[in-house]
Symmetry: C2
Subunit: 146 residues, 2 copies
DNA sequence: CCAAGATAGATCGCGCGCGATGCAATCGCA
DNA sequence: TGCGATTGCATCGCGCGCGATCTATCTTGG
């Protein structure tokens, strides 16, 4: 039932984030996009999509909403007019300050130790790799999912 | 970054399931609903929602689509006319046969042993409980999520 | 230099996920 | 018994997530 565990846990994370992000006027995917921009400003749409595993068909409307909210700016790359670069505005950087407490608050909500979180992070990452690499990886047991 | 791990892994699961479920004409949430009905037929909308953590506003349209596809039937409960009971049709049970190989195929794709899957199942379930119970549970470490 | 192919985004349609709201049936309590 | 409160489901609007398709730009081979 791993698939359902992940499905349900993802919904639970979304609900846990909502009270923290709603005051900031952000949805959870929008917050993830901003996290990547706070880590590195002025990225192309494709680069953000590669970081989050999302398509331009998902990101373009999301980025337009964030632009309309005033937290970022979209502009064509002069070097390659196909690309669209995304840059934070001053409001976007202010938002970073206001969101500073979010990660620690969520960490608390998990009720896990740092060591547990690290271990789970590795396990989840390995599993994602296995699924992404077309399946059939390792030992493979019985019947985990239904 | 646990939040992102789960988010991204959930998307990865959805993509891994797609080639298995598309031939059956099912989406991943529809498959989850059918799993609960295959386990116990003739459940109310609310009961299915409780099992999956979903609201009637999500389930009602989904169930109507499955009904239109002919795999289940929705009808008022005679005992309590507020309730809507959901029952499998013969086509729904045939679909169960056709989906028989799905769990094992997904198990293989994870590349994990049965023991690993069991352990991760427990860890994910505990984490979901912690989030659902309003946070602040255990030791709580540093900064796992951004 | 120019046409064919590749690449980056944008657009569209559909199916969730969910908060807010509405409505009918049932329950509870005087 | 009657009437307000609760329950169970449906509806609506919005924001993803993604396959399919389109357009504009860049790249490459002749």
């Amino acid at each position: 039932m791993l698939c359902f565990d992940v499905y349900s846990l993802n919904l639970a994370f979304g609900r846990a984030y909502k009270p923290l992000l709603e005051p900031l006027g952000l949805t959870y995917p929008q917050y993830l996009v901003l996290l990547t921009l706070w880590a590195e400003d002025r990225q192309s749409v494709g680069r953000i999509g590669a970081a989050l595993g999302l398509d331009s068909s998902t990101l373009t409307p999301l980025l337009k909403r964030l632009e309309a909210a005033g937290v970022l700016r979209r502009h064509r790359d002069d070097q390659d007019e196909r690309r669209v670069l995304v840059s934070l505005t001053e409001a976007g950087r202010v938002l970073q300050q206001r969101a500073e407490a979010v990660p620690a608050t969520m960490a608390e909500a998990t009720g896990m130790t740092l060591a547990e979180m690290r271990q789970m992070h590795q396990a989840l990452t390995r599993l994602r790799q296995a699924l992404r690499d077309g399946g059939m990886g390792g030992a493979g047991g019985g019947d985990p999912c239904a």
